[in-house]
């Protein structure tokens, strides 16, 4: 009984961790792309 409850608790913790991981990651991944990268891509394309 107790082990099952412990397992459920572990699963809930894992879920919380993964939710927060996604939030951190998505916060970073929704930032505006710096111009330097777009300029770099333009430069690479021009060099073709």
């Amino acid at each position: 009984m107790n082990t099952r409850r412990e397992e459920r608790r572990q699963a809930a913790i894992e879920k919380q961790i993964d939710e927060n991981l996604r939030r951190v990651y998505e916060q970073d991944a929704t930032q505006q792309i710096p111009d330097r990268f777009l300029q770099l891509l333009d430069k690479l394309r021009e060099q073709e």
Binding site: I13, E14, Q16, I17, D18, E19, N20, L21, R22, R23, V24, Y25, E26, Q27, D28, A29, T30, Q31, I33, P34, R36, F37, L38, L40, L41, L44, R45
Partner: protein
């Protein structure tokens, strides 16, 4: 479209010049780079190197396969080979992410998320990487294993060790309430208490 969704649709994108699609993956690449370097300037240098490598070696990309996974693989290989070259461990600076976040508004509940970042930044490279690949960016364990060149079981155990360590660092093991559970609660808290601590 969420970034996670983009990672999934990226799998089926198989036509045209893959170089034209690079730009779509830059935000995810930056997020991955940040999780590895834990620091903005190094992350952007890493992304820049990755763009150049991907562009000049685009013939090595197999059309029809996952471009994002390919780019992530280049990025992590670049990160680790630069590390090996310098033989210099980047110091584990707890305040790095916090400093990067300092310019953002503090009244929207982001403080607790900073605690999560600070804890995450304390994990070893291999655990951060496993957690970002499977926990956050939506890759399967199999894909993450192929990208990192290890067995599927190794990715699983790294991710699980990382989760356990995070739970310890955030005191989740002690049954303490974890404040970052839902956005609605946070919004209410932010309205009522402009400064959370």
């Amino acid at each position: 479209m969420t970034d996670r969704k983009a990672a999934q649709t990226a799998r089926s994108d198989a036509h045209g010049d893959p170089r034209d699609e690079l730009v779509e993956h830059l935000p995810a690449l930056r997020a991955f780079a940040l999780s590895l370097t834990r620091e903005g300037a190094s992350a952007d240098d890493l992304v820049q190197d990755t763009i150049v490598k991907a562009w000049t070696h685009i013939d090595k990309f197999q059309p029809g396969t996952n471009l994002r996974a390919w780019l992530f693989t280049i990025l992590r290989n670049t990160f680790y080979s630069a590390r090996r070259k310098t033989r210099r461990e980047v110091s584990d600076t707890d305040g790095i992410h916090a400093a990067r976040q300092a310019t953002r508004p503090e009244h929207d509940g982001r403080l607790a998320l900073n605690d999560f970042r600070a804890a995450f930044d304390k994990l070893p490279d291999e655990q951060r990487e496993a957690l970002i690949l499977v926990g956050a960016s939506g890759f399967s364990y199999e894909e993450a294993a192929a990208m990192t060149g290890v067995a599927v079981g190794t990715v699983k155990s790294r991710a699980n060790r990382g989760r356990r360590r995070l739970a310890e660092l955030l005191h989740l093991e002690e049954g303490e309430e974890f404040e970052m559970t839902d956005r609605a609660t946070l919004a209410v808290m932010a309205q009522n208490t402009p400064i959370l601590r």
